[in-house]
């Protein structure tokens, strides 16, 4: 058998094995076409079928038991032996052992009573090797002295260190509470609790480092939780004492501890910055439930540990504010100089995050991460008919790059917006806050394709890379892959394994189907009554040619979702269509971030299934962290949950990656206003108006911000201005009705209410907004009838009825009927 023959055998084997049993024999006969030898070869392979599954799946030697957890890891039997007590039942003449608190690598810990001082203590026994060697004993006492000098609310106090009956022991304050390890064993912690515990540990470390004491073994098992959130670090100095008696050569293969810094793992010199690393790992685990360098089998990936970077926490918990994610990231820098230099710096940043301010780490990240804007390619075709294709190339490259965590990519809207402004590369870099720009051109002539691309550094205009591709139309994916690979390579982006795999995930597709798809996208991005029909038509044609092309189903789903969300189609019809298309897309490609995002949006705006909304949106963000619109929509979900801080962080992060997007500016105004950050909302409003004065949505939300600040005249003024600039009448009516009623101009308010009710049918005026105007006029009965109707008709604003009613008519929210409504909507958990 030669290689060629084998390839033939393999091909047939794969073909046949993919079929159901009854069809196999017939298929085999057919494809072998009388070649008996070939048939026999394939049959003997097929005969192995029942054994293939389990063969070679176990390790070459017996399986390893789960690492660690074994009592007394160092195998020192004496540590486990019960402590020697005198006739009175006391150890060392004063401690009555009450119960075992725990056993770990260091030995056994007991709760004991100090009969002399009448207090509970924790009594810990260490390896017998310490008592045996004079050097180890001297070192033990020296370290214990240093640890005993620490007096800080976040450090567990060391009372005494001694030897008794050949056994070294420590006496510490007894903390009546679980370890952090126990606390995180069952669930990921809320962001607030994580911050509080992290601040305590950082504060304890800062105090210890100030006295020259380094812990070297910060891990959840060494953090005790006294009271609800008060965290205390225990076992200071022990790592060094124990380390001296333990062979470090065995540490690695015994299961490298998950919290060890790279310098520790490599046996290099360590200083206080090793504790900062370990604390970063602990925060990471509180947030995500996993160690930053865990592999799928639960081991620690040493390669990732020493080379970095750790995948960002957002990959496992997208709702973590970007500010906090940046702080964790900065703790986990392989390069010591890039890490926080002191625990106090880290503490200061944690406090900034808690207060909703920007930590220093965010600025550091912005400066350090390579960044790029991909401009739309220029259409160089003879008739200039390929603009859709030129844009599509850039969009696909943006989409591929946005999945990479180690690269900051400006989103489509903003990248494309600068093109029309005629800016030079340096100005583009400044406007979009990026270091590099990719630009190029496309020329299509018949089936031939010519694409050029240049990667340019904005600071000096230097061409890092440029290439010209003369290929067949069918090679378009290969060209996109080559361009993304060149960018990743030239910008020296660090890639995770899964990102590497994702970059290569391209299925072959008919170039014509792809061209139709790009045309559809082109019109989808310019959504209006005129373009919708064309976008639908091209999606339809693409799917008629290839019904299995998942991106077209996902695009269709997204378009139905946009139509529903912007009231361009009746939501009751559009959302179910969006769901149908999204489910089709997911059946073909379970990793379609666009389809997951649409499913999340449907659940939030239409189905009011908050759990499904969170699942869809976080999955979409995990698959594509750079998707600014998805992050903005996630902000609306967070508003529904009243997670105001996270909501603000989400929309700020979305704006950072898409700084010129009118929609996201509209979102920012709306979300900040609803969260009570009126000033920030109005600042974003001014930018939104500069950017796209004809876009109506921000005016509506700015009026809300003015209303909640009690500035009714300004609110009315903004609405009037908005009406001249494309703000839809019924949105204007909603806010103006409320404002007029509050100003005491009841007749005007009543007229507005009448108009809204009259137009409700034909132009889908929001039922909830009618209710708010009626309630401001004092008519709660009418208000509740419209809220009921909003529930029945699945009015899109109802998802935030609890938040907006608090702003527009607080007394309405105190009516028992309101509580009943919230129960129906499963919103009582987030009601005030």
């Amino acid at each position: 058998m030669n290689a060629e023959r084998w390839q033939q055998i393999e091909r047939i084997y794969l073909d046949v094995v993919a079929r159901d049993e009854p069809d196999r024999a017939a298929t085999l006969d057919e494809v072998c076409a009388g070649d008996a030898e070939l048939k026999r070869e394939v049959e003997t392979l097929l005969a192995q079928e029942s054994r293939v599954g389990r063969f070679l799946e176990s390790r070459p030697w017996p399986a390893d038991p789960a690492p660690s957890q074994a009592p007394a890891e160092d195998g020192d039997e004496t540590v486990l032996a019960p402590p020697p007590v005198d006739a009175a039942g006391l150890f060392a003449g004063r401690y009555r052992i009450l119960r075992t608190l725990g056993q770990g690598g260091m030995g056994v810990v007991y709760q004991a009573e100090d009969v002399r001082l009448k207090r509970f203590v924790a009594l810990k026994f260490l390896s017998s090797a310490i008592a045996a060697s004079p050097q180890a004993r001297a070192r033990f006492l020296r370290e214990a002295q240093a640890a005993a000098s620490l007096d800080d609310p976040h450090v567990c106090t060391l009372y005494e260190a001694g030897e008794e009956g050949g056994r070294a022991y420590l006496v510490m304050a007894f903390i009546d509470g679980p370890t952090l390890k126990e606390r995180i064993a069952t669930e990921r912690l809320p962001i607030g609790e994580t911050l509080s515990i992290a601040r305590d540990i950082a504060s304890g470390l800062a105090a210890a480092h100030a006295r020259g004491v380094v812990h070297r073994d910060i891990k959840p098992g060494n953090v005790l939780l006294a009271g609800l959130r008060l965290a205390k670090i225990t076992d200071f100095g022990l790592a060094r004492i124990e380390g001296a008696t333990r062979s470090t050569a065995t540490a690695g293969a015994a299961g490298t501890p998950a919290y060890m810094s790279p310098e520790q793992a490599q046996g290099l010199r360590t200083d206080h910055r090793t504790d900062i690393w370990s604390l970063g790992c602990v925060i990471y685990e509180m947030l995500t439930g996993r160690s930053p360098f865990a592999t799928s089998s639960g081991q620690v990936d040493v390669f990732a540990l020493v080379h970095g970077p750790a995948p960002g926490v957002a990959a496992f918990r997208p709702e973590v504010p970007a500010t906090l994610a940046a702080v964790v990231d900065r703790c986990l820098r392989t390069d010591l100089r890039a890490r926080y230099q002191t625990a106090s710096d880290l503490l200061a940043d944690l406090e900034r995050v808690s207060a909703g301010d920007t930590p220093s780490a965010v600025r550091a990240v912005r400066e350090e991460l390579p960044s790029i804007a991909v401009l739309p390619f220029a259409d160089m075709s003879p008739e200039r008919t390929q603009e859709y294709f030129a844009e599509g190339m850039a969009e696909e490259i943006i989409h591929a790059l946005a999945r990479i965590e180690g690269l900051r990519v400006v989103a489509r809207t903003s990248s494309f917006a600068v093109k029309s402004k005629g800016l030079d590369v340096r100005e583009i870099g400044r406007v979009l806050n990026v270091g590099n720009v990719l630009e190029g051109s496309v020329r299509v002539a018949g089936s031939r394709l010519r694409i050029t691309a240049q990667l340019i550094t904005v600071d000096d205009g230097f061409h890092l890379w440029s290439e010209r591709f003369d290929r067949e139309a069918g090679d378009v994916f290969a060209i996109q892959d080559e361009i993304t690979a060149a960018i990743v390579d030239r910008l020296a982006v660090a890639l995770h394994l899964r990102e590497r795999a994702a970059l290569r995930k391209h299925r072959p597709v008919d170039p014509e189907v792809y061209a139709l798809y790009l045309r559809a996208r082109y019109f989808q991005h310019r959504i209006s009554a005129d373009t919708v029909e064309r976008a639908f038509r091209y999606y339809g044609e693409a799917l008629a040619r290839d019904p299995t092309f998942a991106p077209a189903h996902a695009g269709l789903a997204g378009m139905w979702g946009d139509l529903a969300a912007f009231n361009l189609a009746p939501p009751g019809e559009a959302w179910p269509k969006a769901r149908e298309a999204a489910e089709r897309a997911l059946a073909l490609d379970p990793d379609s971030s666009e389809a997951h995002q649409t499913i999340g949006a449907i659940a939030l705006w239409f189905e009011w299934d908050w759990t499904a909304a969170e699942a869809g949106m976080t999955r979409a963000l995990a698959l594509n962290p750079g998707d600014a619109l998805a992050r903005g929509r996630h902000g609306w979900f967070l508003l529904n949950r009243r997670r105001f801080d996270e909501c603000g962080a989400a929309v700020r992060q979305a704006l950072a990656s898409d700084p010129l997007s009118p929609i996201l500016h509209g979102f920012a105004v709306g979300l900040h206003a609803a969260c009570g950050r009126s000033e920030e909302a109005l600042a974003d409003f001014r930018r939104a108006v500069d950017l796209a004065p004809g876009f109506g949505l921000p005016y509506f939300h700015a009026a809300i911000a003015h209303t909640s600040l009690g500035r009714l005249d300004e609110a009315a003024e903004v609405v009037e201005k908005g009406l001249q600039q494309g703000l839809t009448l019924f949105w204007a009516d909603c806010i103006l009705g409320i404002v007029r009623a509050r100003q005491g101009r009841r007749d005007e308010a009543a007229a507005i209410l009448a108009r809204m009710i009259e137009q409700h049918q034909q132009s889908s005026v929001s039922c909830a907004s009618i209710a708010w105007v009626a309630a401001n006029l004092g008519d709660f009965d009418v208000a509740f009838s419209w809220l009921d109707r909003g529930y029945e008709e699945r009015d899109g604003l109802m998802a935030w009825v609890h938040v907006y009613t608090d702003i527009f008519v607080p007394p309405l929210a105190r009516d028992p009927r309101f509580h009943a409504l919230l129960e129906r909507m499963r919103l009582t958990d987030v009601a005030r």
């Binding site: 084998w6 192995q48 079928e49 690695g252 081991q299 390669f303 394994l497 899964r498 795999a501």
Partner: protein, 193 residues
Amino acid sequence: MPLPASADVTSLLVAWSEGDDSALAQLVPRVYDELRRIAHHHVRAERPGRTLQTTALVHEAYLRLVDTRRVRWESRAHFLSVAAQAMRRILVDAARARGARKRGGDALSVPLDEVALLAPQREASVVALDDALNALAEVDPRKSRVVELRYFGGLSVEETAAVLHVSPETVHRDWRVAKAFLLRELSGKDTAP
């Protein structure tokens, strides 16, 4: 015996990553020695009842042999590839030695404790698997490497894909077909491991 200084392995690894194939020939024996040394150390020093894990051994060897400040992340793939080859040879040698010792010979000087630790229960099957892999490499070298990396190197599908510069789907497919091939080779000769 070449110097075991970590700088040497690092330089070789860099050279090999940059296309110097002769470096590979020197790398494998050093990684082989180091893996055996670590395994040997564990046999003596470790707790009873605990067995070794391929991944942990390979990781430890990496930390001990390679100066991580001098290599790029990409060296991971190259090192894993070398380590998988070395692991395969260690296991096959151990199995042969055990077999030889049973028959009264001692042709290979592999220490007894190490053999006891490393050799699988049915040593003949590892030797047969090694032969079958060689046969597979004749017609389809990539599939043979997939098995080497996955089985002997302990690599996951994603890691294997990264080392070989193919997609994870290809690894899945290769793995399945390779196993059918190997099972067929082994059937009639010896029972599978």
